[in-house]
């Protein structure tokens, strides 16, 4: 897969404040890449730098092979950006908003009207196309802003906190739309968020940011195995197993330690492959296994582990 975003040692300072402090990452075509970090981590600044609306203080970036610092306009022709606040013209209708941005993006006059109606329909706004945006609910505004980012069918989409300020239902609706975009049209998405669940649900890979720096990067499994080279499995039995079962599991290759007592054990293993071997071993020993649950780390665990490591 082609790499469409390359960032090397990118920097942006505001006075003494290092908003983006030497970031390096690559995004391949078709990926959903997350920029995950707390307030002030530098997510919005990164999006601005990559679209060439803010000049960098150092480092390099290439988007579709263009340098945002000099060829921003060529990049913006191929990107869509959902800004942090919807930034819609509240006094204009949804149709007027989209036709305006569609024109700026160069959609030909003869297809513009239909394209706008189609996308409004896709986002469930077809009944309100000629209503002023100020009469819309927050969720509708967010969907309209998403429609604006997509009206010219950009191959690369930036989403800056797409669900912030939405109620859970509206947030879920927006997230489903986003997931659908990547699945249906293979759109590459860079998602800036501080919402761990959202990142977990949508992103193939994430860069965990803090104060302008990347603390860790990779898929959820990569990050987990980097942070926690071993994993824990909770095993529950129907009846307390025999002493020999304990010994057999303990002696098993890939098992680091066994704790717990009675019918609840915790086993630390080197990798997930070891788990089926343990189950076989226990079954051979005649143990009555009720549940085997590997402890999954969530992005939240990763996030807090990284933040703790940082301090």
């Amino acid at each position: 897969m082609e790499t469409i975003v390359e960032v090397n040692g990118l920097e942006r300072t505001f006075g003494q404040n290092r908003a983006v402090d030497g970031m390096t990452f690559h995004v391949k075509q078709g990926e959903v890449f997350g920029l995950l970090g707390p307030n002030g981590a530098g997510k919005t600044t990164t999006v601005r730098l990559l679209n060439g609306i803010l000049p960098p203080s150092g480092g390099t970036a290439r988007v579709f092979g263009f340098d945002p610092a000099t060829d921003g306009q060529k990049i913006r022709q191929q990107t869509g950006v959902l800004t942090e606040s919807p930034a819609l013209y509240e006094r204009l209708s949804a149709r007027e908003n989209l036709e305006f941005f569609g024109t700026l993006a160069g959609i030909p006059e003869n297809t513009l009207g239909q394209r706008v109606l189609d996308i409004l329909k896709f986002f469930g706004l077809q009944e309100r196309v000629d209503d002023k945006v100020e009469t819309y609910s927050k969720g509708m505004k967010q969907r309209l802003a998403l429609a604006r980012a997509l009206v010219h069918e950009p191959p690369l989409l930036f989403l800056d906190e797409p669900t912030s300020g939405l109620d859970p239902e509206a947030a879920q609706q927006v997230n489903e739309l986003i997931a659908g975009l990547n699945e249906r049209s293979g759109q590459t998405i860079i998602l800036a968020t501080h919402n761990l669940l959202e990142a977990q649900r949508l992103c193939d890979r994430v860069a965990v940011l803090n104060k302008g720096r990347i603390l860790a990067m990779g898929s959820l499994t990569e990050l987990t195995s980097k942070l926690w080279p071993t994993m824990w499995v909770d095993i529950t039995f129907w009846q307390v197993p025999s002493e020999s079962a304990w010994g057999a599991v303990k002696g098993q290759r890939g098992v680091r330690q066994v704790t717990g007592q009675g019918e609840a054990w915790q086993v630390q293993v080197e990798s997930a492959e070891v788990i089926p071997q343990i189950v076989q071993q226990l079954a051979g020993q005649g143990a009555s296994i009720l549940k085997v649950i590997p402890r999954d780390y969530t992005l939240e665990d990763i996030y807090f582990a990284l933040q703790a490591g940082e301090k």
Binding site: R76, T83, R91, L104
Partner: protein, 274 residues
């Protein structure tokens, strides 16, 4: 340069201004006063007020007459008292007052499109559009300049019709516009429209709200009032030549201000103020 984008920006800005009553309110009231109410008063007044009052007004006329080039002085020869009064009032005394229009219209629209865009937090999405800084700038400038000139010209046309129609019984001929009006309408009016917008762009980077920008650029009107005072006192009579010269000076100032505003109006600077 992508003109389709430029026009789209200009049209969008005008659609927005239309929704801002504080912006278009004066755009209706001022032309109405200038083109209809004022001339009607000048023309009806001498027919209803006592002759002595007209004569006293014409005392002031003497000052201005002396400042006029001979060709224009000739206009007053052989005219009746009433005719002289109308000629003086409608044709000369308040002529520079009309110059408030291009200045005011363009700075009001400019305040809404340059500062209002930021105040309403819509600037960011616009910066992400695939247009150049220059296209954005031009779109917004045209949104202010074209209606400012257009509306001024419409007002002139209405004024010309009203003056001629209302004073026809008095003169028995179509006598307006006078030669001094042509450079005023065609040279100075566009120059002031451009002055209004370029000054507003520079002001806009320093203020936060539409109202602040509106009030600051409104102070430019002092410039026009100075011209009115010059005309009435006879100190600076706006003949054809003088108007052309002052107009040219304004165009030069315009060029300098536009140069500075283009340099200021860059994404990299605008994004810092979002």
């Amino acid at each position: 340069m992508n003109w389709r984008s430029i026009w789209a920006i200009a049209k969008k800005d005008l659609k927005e201004v239309r929704q801002n009553k504080a912006a278009w309110g004066p755009g209706i009231v001022v032309p109405l006063v200038f083109a209809i109410i004022m001339p009607m008063m000048f023309i009806i007044l001498p027919q209803v007020i006592p002759v002595e009052d007209v004569q006293r007004e014409l005392g002031d006329l003497d000052v201005m007459l002396r400042a006029m080039p001979p060709a224009l002085q000739a206009l007053f020869e052989g005219k009746s008292l009433e005719q002289m009064f109308v000629l003086y009032m409608a044709g000369f005394m308040l002529a520079p007052l009309f110059l408030i229009m291009p200045l005011m219209f363009s700075s009001v629209i400019g305040s809404d499109s340059f500062v209002g865009e930021r105040e309403r937090k819509t600037m960011e999405a616009l910066l992400y559009a695939p247009t150049s800084d220059m296209e954005l700038f031009l779109g917004k400038v045209l949104a202010a300049v074209i209606p400012a000139i257009g509306l001024s010209w419409i007002t002139y046309v209405v004024y010309i019709i009203v003056v001629n129609v209302a004073s026809y019984p008095l003169f028995g001929e179509i006598w307006f516009p006078l030669p001094t009006w042509y450079p005023l309408m065609l040279w100075m009016t566009p120059a002031l429209a451009v002055l209004g917008i370029s000054a507003t762009v520079l002001i806009s980077s320093r203020v936060r709200t539409f109202m602040e920008a509106y009030q600051m650029s409104a102070s430019l009107v002092v410039l026009v009032l100075a011209l009115v005072a010059g005309q009435i006192s006879g100190v600076l009579f706006l003949g054809v030549g003088t108007t052309l010269v002052i107009g040219s000076i304004i165009w030069l100032v315009d060029a300098a201000l536009i140069y500075l505003s283009v340099k200021k109006f860059k994404r990299s600077a605008l994004v810092a103020k979002l």
